[in-house]
Symmetry: C2
């Protein structure tokens, strides 16, 4: 029905007749002539309708915002002075010969260029209108290109695209499952997969050697952060590989993706141990665009006369860390109070600081509520962090976990607030994760999942599980975990040892993962893989603020779709067929958050 997309018009088409189809983006009447900005997914073109073409003019005159039109006309250069160099099509316009109204439109709930004036709720309810905004179309187009680039790369590397089930059994990630009652097996339920983890391992046991899938995953969790109940994973697994094989191929994939889609050359990814990342950045996903680092000052603070510092400095699970911020001495008291509140979110009980006004003046040149408690170590401290005039030094002193979280988050916030970024893109690998983390009751839980291989023997693992490292690796970009993976356990005895350490009894293991344990007995190859969060990857590459912007039909924080009004009420008949009944009736519709 069209000859060109609106966005394709340019000077090379002058004097040609074109046919455009699209939406009325703006309409202006000027000097007896109608100007229509016609929009389609490729861009916007200006159309001029003259009263000489009577029928076309009458139709254009009917047209309102968001009417759907088909326009035939001749491309011409815009008159001198009316050109718009900011628009790709800004040098030309179409003089309409024919205007056809393909569909009318009632007044939309918001104007596209005024979307900021309405709440997200209105835009989600009318998502099909919000998606008309060129930046939304661009973001989903970018998403499509990213999926395509990733697929093309993986196909080229011999990975096979294999679909795994959505109606399945509970998977081992440990979040809450979405359940689907079975009609044919009354009282039984399918679970929607939290990831294809077990299936991809079984595909390796079956000998597929290299598998990938862009797979939907599901977690029924409270969506405090920027999460969605269903999300998409680029899922990868290979056999007869070691860490380095998976890391190299996926790093190449991401670098090629950035080249192809953003024309960005990423550097080779540095590798950092988990321990280093926690010490230097207080985070297992450090944002390396920010040149700030935590310095350990436990040794200096052990004997100061300030319990807030000396306590954690002497405690086994304590940490005192300093964060030097160049130029930070100009922060006001009010700003520092805000940061104190900010670290409070992470459990920090306060935020000590020293401003370095003039280091040459010694104590005189410092400004700080705490320096009086540590006069004899202050020079060593300033040396340790490399303090210079104009700096501020922040301190965290608490359990190591709290210090890392609070000062790690403060580091990122300061980087953003003070615009300290030294790079646009800072990728890295984090490696050598601990196998387990200790729960508050002293029990161990897997840092990744219970199929992650340790980097030591079963004997060494049993001897000191808390010290064991795993063969896991995370790819981090700009402070976001893009993906994580590991070499898996392919040995039944090792798997049993890990289950024992986790306190998973034989019966429980069999009940939950029996089929995988069986499979490990029948000739499982060494294997490993990685899974990327596609939504987050697209969000980063699109420069979007939330993953909702890169998902066509997202859900709200209460896991509802405002457009389709899902979830919805179902009939008693349907429930009877599924052998279930409600404990309490659905509440009448209330406004979503």
């Amino acid at each position: 029905m069209r000859s060109h997309y609106c966005g394709q018009l340019n000077e090379t088409l002058v004097d040609q007749t074109v046919t455009l189809c699209g939406w009325v983006h703006r309409r202006r009447d000027h000097g007896g002539v109608i100007f229509l900005d016609m929009r389609d997914r490729d861009g916007i073109a200006q159309v001029v309708v003259d009263p000489d073409t009577a029928e076309a003019f009458a139709n254009a005159d009917r047209a309102r915002s968001e009417y759907v039109l088909r326009i035939q006309g001749r491309v011409r250069l815009r008159p001198e002075g009316t050109q718009n160099p900011n628009m790709p099509t800004g040098l030309v316009e179409v003089l309409a010969k024919d205007v056809e109204v393909l569909n009318t439109a009632v007044t939309p709930p918001f104007q596209l260029d005024e979307h900021g004036k309405v709440g997200e709720e209105v835009r989600l309810k009318h998502r099909y209108i919000d998606l008309r905004r060129p930046e939304m179309i661009d973001k989903l187009r970018l998403r499509s290109r990213i999926s395509h680039s990733v697929r093309a790369f993986l196909e080229g590397e011999g990975f096979l695209d294999i679909e795994t089930p959505i109606l399945t059994r509970a998977t081992p990630e440990g979040a809450r499952d979405y359940l689907v009652p079975s009609r044919t097996h009354p009282g039984s339920f399918f679970a929607l997969p939290q990831s294809p983890q077990l299936f991809k391992q079984l595909l390796m046991v079956a000998g597929f050697d290299r598998y990938y899938q862009i797979a939907k995953c599901f977690r029924d969790e409270d969506l405090r952060a920027d999460r969605q109940p269903e999300f998409t994973q680029i899922d990868i697994e290979a056999s007869f590989v070691e860490e380095d094989d998976i890391m190299r191929v996926t790093e190449r994939m991401i670098r090629q993706l950035f080249q192809e889609v953003l024309a960005v050359e990423l550097p080779e990814f540095p590798r950092m141990t988990w321990h280093d990342a926690m010490q230097r950045y207080g985070s297992d996903k450090p944002d390396l665009r920010i040149p700030l680092e935590l310095a350990d000052v436990d040794d200096l603070m052990q004997r100061v006369d300030f319990k807030v510092f000396s306590g954690p400095a002497n405690a086994e699970d304590g940490r005192v860390a300093a964060l030097r911020v160049p130029g930070g001495a100009r922060l006001t008291r009010k700003e520092i109070d805000e940061y104190t509140k900010f670290v409070g979110i992470y459990g920090a009980k306060g935020l000590a600081w020293i401003k370095v006004n003039e280091r040459a003046k010694g104590l005189e040149g410092l400004q700080s509520p705490i320096v009086k408690f540590m006069e004899n170590v202050v020079e060593a401290l300033l040396d340790r962090v490399g303090a210079e005039d104009g700096d501020i030094i922040f301190f965290g002193a608490d359990k190591a976990r709290i210090v890392n979280e609070a000062i790690g988050a403060l580091r990122v916030k300061l980087g953003e607030d003070l615009d300290l970024y030294t790079h646009d893109w800072a990728p890295l690998w984090v490696v050598d994760f601990p196998m387990f983390e200790e729960e508050s009751d002293g029990s161990l839980s897997p840092l990744h999942h219970p199929f992650t291989s340790p980097s030591c023997s079963p004997q060494a693992l049993e001897a000191d599980p808390a010290a064991a490292l795993s063969r896991a690796y995370d790819m981090v970009l700009n402070g976001t975990e893009l993906g994580g993976g590991s070499i898996r356990i392919h040995d039944r005895a090792m798997q049993n040892t890990v289950f024992e350490i986790l306190g998973i009894g034989e019966d429980e293991a069999r009940e939950k993962f029996g089929f995988l344990l069986d499979a490990l007995q029948y000739g499982a190859p060494p294997h490993g893989g990685l899974a990327f969060g596609l939504d987050r990857l697209v969000m980063l590459m699109a420069g979007a603020r939330t993953i909702r912007e890169v998902i066509a039909f997202p859900k709200t924080q209460s896991a509802a779709c405002l457009m389709t009004d899902a979830p919805g009420v179902v009939s008693g008949e349907q429930l009877r067929e599924l052998n279930i009944r409600l404990r309490q009736k659905a509440k009448p519709e209330t406004a979503d958050e």
Copy 2:
């Protein structure tokens, strides 16, 4: 860990050292030497382990069927007389220097080359072993190539890959939905989509112009036929298009797919009206590989003295059809009795026939239990069907629907039994479907779905809905519907008219599809699309007998996964969180069908 896949070995590698990883497919001991057939996803290679290499020999000696080994050795030509020209690697073998046991294997529940000796139940339970069979790996590899070819084609045509939700609201296909109880909205349920139909239409309203997705779809139906509760669709939609645009681009896609993946050149697809297909083949998805056609003989049979024929011939909804089968006169009485039973499945009360032994002899040359009732029309009948010596002519006489189903199915069965195929691949388009079909209570229901556009005006539609044709089209290959689609209704008034005819009141329409009806008001472009069943397409291209062979982890006919034992029992705590309880407890596990 490897240098080559097993299947890659050939004469060009002679004298090179290679490293293989894979499974012991077969092991033979011969003349003090161990022969291992090593298998990986690419093929099988013969490895010779000599007692001279003591450590390698000891390891090879431990190896049993399905052990996982890593082997390093030198490629050499097999000795004269031991070459196997039927194997791609049959001219060479590897003389092992090093054999490493990467994993052991207990005795598998069945030998790969004896899989036919165990039931499908055993193979589904140990799917990861059944998938090791080279033909299974090949089928899933073909599936991956098919997905890739389709994606590459559609990307090249400017279609954007856009993901639509899995947790959503009931969709309009009318089959039973899988439901997912919502925890955050107690008493409400998500439905898993039966197709992305509504979402793709909304994407057109949003202006995405060209959309595709390889999408999971779900139907909770009793799986009598070769169906799965979750299946995969190649879903396509475009704006500003007419039937021909969609048909041309998807036909090119399928033709290119066959070229790329099977090196098959499909002919251009003929187009046949639904009416013709029913008249000539008794089916809306005729298998054109079979050169048999139904002939209408109503006019000849109206006055015969044989109620079985004259009744339907004179009834408005009746039909008498003849099917001439060349060479069929050699069918035995017993075979004819079998075919009579066969058409009984479709409701036919009998199967009349005439054998044409020697046409020149007139009635004498015919053999038939019914010819005596129609002596005066028999010559006209033989002329009508073009009877020749050696033919058999079968008859169906009943309501048209029963005749079409019974004789249509008989036609396909005879084609198969007598191997009458004239082509390997016979694609076609079926077009000009009726808008509606009449239910037994006289009401109308949509032949496709209620968003299908009629090919007439709303006025003409209202005047005689039963006669209206739709703008739908089905792609058929070898008697299987590969895909179906239509131009959709983009006009709110037309949509209302269709709902009225279907007896869907305003409230019901709003309750079910309110968001789509809203969207149609806000500037919906003309649009249409098509959806292919990927599982069935792969099945046809792979020459598989069931779709279970081209799905990695399929479900049984009772919608269960024998490997993971899904669906399973869940805890009371989980049910409480979801605000549901069971009507009756799950039965103890019973054997699946």
